[in-house]
Amino acid sequence: MSAVIESKGGFRAWLNKRLPVDQFVADQLTGYYAPKNFNVWYFFGSLALLVFVMQIVTGIFVTMHFKPGEATAWDSVQKMVREVPYMGIIQPMHAVGASFFFIVVYLHMARAFLYGSYKAPRELLWVIGMLIYLALMAEAFMGYVLPNGNMSYWGAQVIINLFGTIPGIGPGLVEWIRGDYGIGDATLNRFFSLHVVALPFIIALLVGLHLVALRQVGSNNPDGIEIKEKLGKDGKPLDGIPFHPYYTLKDIVGVGLFLTLFAIVLFFIPTFFGYFMEAPNFEPANPVSTPEHIAPVWYFTPYYAILRAVPDQKMGALLMALSVAAFLFVPWLDRAKNKSIRYRGLASKLLLGMFFITFLVLMWLGLKPAEGLYVMLARIFTALYFAFFVLLPFVSKADGNGPVPERVTYHAH
């Protein structure tokens, strides 16, 4: 840890003797050295934290007007949006925020793939991040079910029934999750409790662990070389700069750009052409009318496309679970010596490029109906999706060992 803060007397000394405020700032911000060659990809960690805080704050206000339950949920959302001053902005802010959360998280994950940020010694940092992603998916799913629109209802029906495919315990498990023989009051109320209390706590805890693990191992950088290996006479990394004020200031620029985009979507295209809020969810849940075609919100559709690509129900559900779980093993599947894509061969670059494109194509296919050409394409791209994880160990081992620079690539501005 960095230098111990000396007491100067007065209130500050009194405070620091009882609560190590200055020490904390010195350890975590002014004394935390991050590589000086961060690029635009490094905005998304702090932006994810920003969206998390936004979701908590808007969520607190939405909860003030929301009445969970089969009979009340839909009407309470309509009422808050139409009649309560400014809730017509705050409620959509929460809904649009969910999509932006996933945009930021996906870009944050893409950064890790580009620069090998999951590789040793950052495997646990990655695994904790993936746990956050899983908790976030559960949180977003339940949040989508709560207003009890027709897509909420049928989406929940499809997702909860996925658990029914688990051999042996499946049917009983589905009844246990719903607390009824169908989606009802019990389901909506427990989802409310989990969405508002349990999962935010879990996510906050995991985010805390993510940051502690990050402080322990230090940030990776676009060159994927360890700045801790080149220390100056003062014991600080030669290629490192204090997180505060350098990166706090940089992040303010990112926050400004992000909030500009966010505001444009929120004020002018809150449904984002039916992708952030789907048309069938603007009518209340109707158990006797299935929407023409059921699609989850865009951030789940890559996995949904994989689920539908398989003509067997159990295999489909299994492949879908595997497609998410595969991410957890990436730190050990990647056997390259170098971390960053900059110092890997053409094969690695093509493989990663293929994976990014595959993920986006599956995302698009999951939004399309499961018929004809779309099913065929979904099968092809499902195969490509898993091919990435199968090929990664071999490709990374073969062409990820070239020379790397001694110091990070950096051009002073």
Binding site: G182, G184, S289, E292, I294, P311, Q313, A370
Partner: protein, 207 residues
């Protein structure tokens, strides 16, 4: 330990006794934690009122013309009741080769409906109207040879969500994402025109 041996105010530690006590304490604590979880986990099961709402449902069969279907509710699920015509019944065995589970070996149904017609009484088909794929409502497509469903369509059900196809006994066609035939609830006929969903036929063999 040797450091302490020199100091005769500290008695010798019985390591095995200490290990046993640590294991026993931790073990008891773990058992307590698991048992405490029981009420919390069990609280997620359907409530008494949800169970009560799952009581049997009656259907008057005289309301259904041959070749028609009505829907009823039982346990928050839509129940399809079809009055099958003799033509519908004779067409059933003709497409066994195109089905995933023609004899309903892997599918869920009460024992008394595990037969060629998947029914207690051949003219009355009772199904749980939720697709065995992911729970959507299959739509009726009873007209044979409806080319919008598939070539040589014998008549049956089509799920609009993911395209699963079922015949007039609720049996799933190959090429559907669903793997199993539509489920059948327990049911019985207390009288000629009365169907009760949720009650098995009694042991005396009275339908």
């Amino acid at each position: 330990m040797s450091d302490h041996a020199a100091d005769d105010t500290v008695p010798e530690v019985d390591e095995s006794r200490r290990k046993f006590l640590i294991a026993a304490t931790a073990g008891t604590g773990a058992v307590g934690a698991v048992l405490t979880a029981v009420p919390f986990v069990a609280s997620w099961n359907p409530s008494e009122s949800a169970r009560a709402a799952g009581l049997p449902t009656e259907v008057d069969l005289s309301r259904i013309e041959p070749g028609q279907m009505i829907t009823s509710f039982w346990r928050k699920q839509q129940i399809y009741v079809v009055r099958r015509t003799p033509e519908m019944l004779t067409s059933l065995p003709n497409h066994d080769g195109e089905l995933k589970d023609p004899e309903s070996k892997d599918s869920e149904q009460p024992g008394y409906t595990k037969n060629a017609q998947r029914s207690l009484r051949s003219d009355v088909l009772v199904l749980i109207g939720t697709c065995t794929h992911l729970g959507c409502l299959p739509k009726t497509r009873f007209t044979p040879n409806d080319a919008t469903v598939m070539a040589n369509w014998p008549g049956g059900f089509f799920c609009p969500c993911h395209g699963s196809k079922f015949d007039l006994a609720g049996r799933v066609f190959k090429g559907s994402p669903a793997s199993l035939n539509l489920k059948i609830p327990p049911y019985s006929f207390p009288s000629e025109n009365k169907l009760v969903i949720g009650v098995d036929p009694d042991a005396k063999g009275n339908a």
